[in-house]
């Protein structure tokens, strides 16, 4: 058994062989925004989930026009193969990939194992920031078929359709709520969206090198919890980064046709007046 869409995954060795390939752009997206400056894969550019990909004012992503500017500045065309990698088992690499797909970039890959595996293999990290000739990138209208908004999540929950909570067990149970004095990252209520099953994101990756688990292991993991390929699936976490990883696994490694990431996630749901919660 192999992954359903293995073309969305490349190994570190493939990346090492394609560092000079003009049709390939390597993008680092990390949780820690300074990691890129400390050292990155030669020729890689940085796309920060926060400063690059968020709207400067509203709680939303950057606009289509702004995305076109970002893509043009890193010199990609609509046909460039874009390979994402990052720290924390590729959380934000998956998040950035998801957002590139949201704006219509089809040719995307994740570097299996991310930064951790690249480092562990003793591969080179450099400080030089590359520059590329500016392109005129044209994005498509946002692809809402991969992004869930709160109304939809409520309908999904009411209809008892599959919802996957990928946070840690303590966040799912509601034992962990935001700590006092930290309102900015917290939620007013703890628990999970009614009907959501708990499948922590980490169960999809091998701890030793951050690579994804084998296809049969992944299939058993999700199907064993009732998350099947037919029908719509919505994944969520706290801010949508960990669930991007689960979205990637379900969508491409397991080939589920209809998967959405709810990026509002618990920071929205746990603060939403009148939203149903289960503990």
């Amino acid at each position: 058994m192999s992954y359903v869409h293995p073309e969305y995954l490349v190994e570190t060795e493939w990346v090492a062989q394609n560092l000079e390939n003009p049709n390939v752009r390597i993008i680092e997206s990390d949780e820690d925004p300074l990691l890129y400056a400390v050292g990155h894969v030669p020729g890689a550019v940085q796309v920060d989930w926060f400063s690059t990909l968020q709207h400067p004012l509203r709680r939303d992503f950057l606009t289509k026009e702004k995305f076109e500017e970002v893509a043009s500045n890193i010199g990609i065309t609509n046909d460039t193969t874009v390979v994402f990698y990052g720290d924390k088992s590729n959380w934000f690499a998956c998040y950035a990939l998801w957002l590139f797909q949201y704006f219509g970039h089809q040719n995307v890959r994740i570097m299996n194992g991310g930064r951790l595996k690249w480092e562990k293999e003793g591969r080179p990290l450099v400080k030089d920031v590359p520059t590329f000739e500016k392109t005129s990138y044209r994005a498509t209208e946002p692809d809402k078929s991969i992004r869930a908004f709160r109304e939809e999540v409520l309908q999904q929950s009411s209809a008892k359709k599959p919802l996957v909570d990928v946070r840690s067990p303590k966040e799912y149970s509601g034992e962990l709520i935001s700590m006092p004095n930290y309102p900015q990252e917290g939620a007013q209520r703890g628990g999970h969206i009614p009907g959501a099953v708990s499948i922590p994101w980490s169960q999809a990756v091998n701890e030793a090198d951050s690579t994804f688990k084998r296809p049969d292991e992944l299939r058993a993991l999700y199907e064993g919890k009732g998350i099947k390929p037919d029908g719509e699936v919505i994944a969520y976490c706290r801010i949508g980064e960990r669930s991007s990883l689960t979205w990637f696994v379900l969508k491409y490694l397991l080939g589920y046709p209809n998967v959405k990431n709810y990026d509002g996630s618990w920071t929205e749901w746990g603060n939403l007046v009148d939203a149903p919660i289960e503990r």
């Binding site: 949780e31 820690d32 925004p33 300074l34 990691l35 400056a37 400390v38 926060f50 400063s51 720290d87 930064r115 951790l116 700590m179 004095n181 930290y182 900015q184 990252e185 801010i239």
Partner: protein, 145 residues
Amino acid sequence: MSLPPKLQEIVDDFSGMTREEKLETLIAYAETFPPLPEWLRERRDNMEPVPECMTPVFLFAEHLPTGRIHFHLDIPPQSPTVRGLASILTNGLNGCTPEEIISVPGDFYLPMKLHEAISQQRLTGFVGVLGHMKQEAVKLLEKKE
């Protein structure tokens, strides 16, 4: 309430910087983050964990004979932002008295406008580290009494 002079100096420096300068300065702080001293390495398991951080952060408060405090932290190199922020705290607070540390307001960093450079979440860890430093300072005062 005034901040300890060294911390005040850092706050003032940051408040006048552009976003890029803030990032560069944080990297410089991260790169000068001191390794854990030899004598603490064996005692690593006795250090205080800081659970507010998504990164594993350990803190040890060394009580100097003068009654002042010197903090030692252990933070993995894969987390330069956390190292940089922690380094600001140790540079600003090491050598202070417990009273000075306890009186640092939890929002002292707001004039630095760090949110221009890094996300709010990172700042949660920053405040978490400060909170633990204060706890250690309280412990030292209680010991004295």
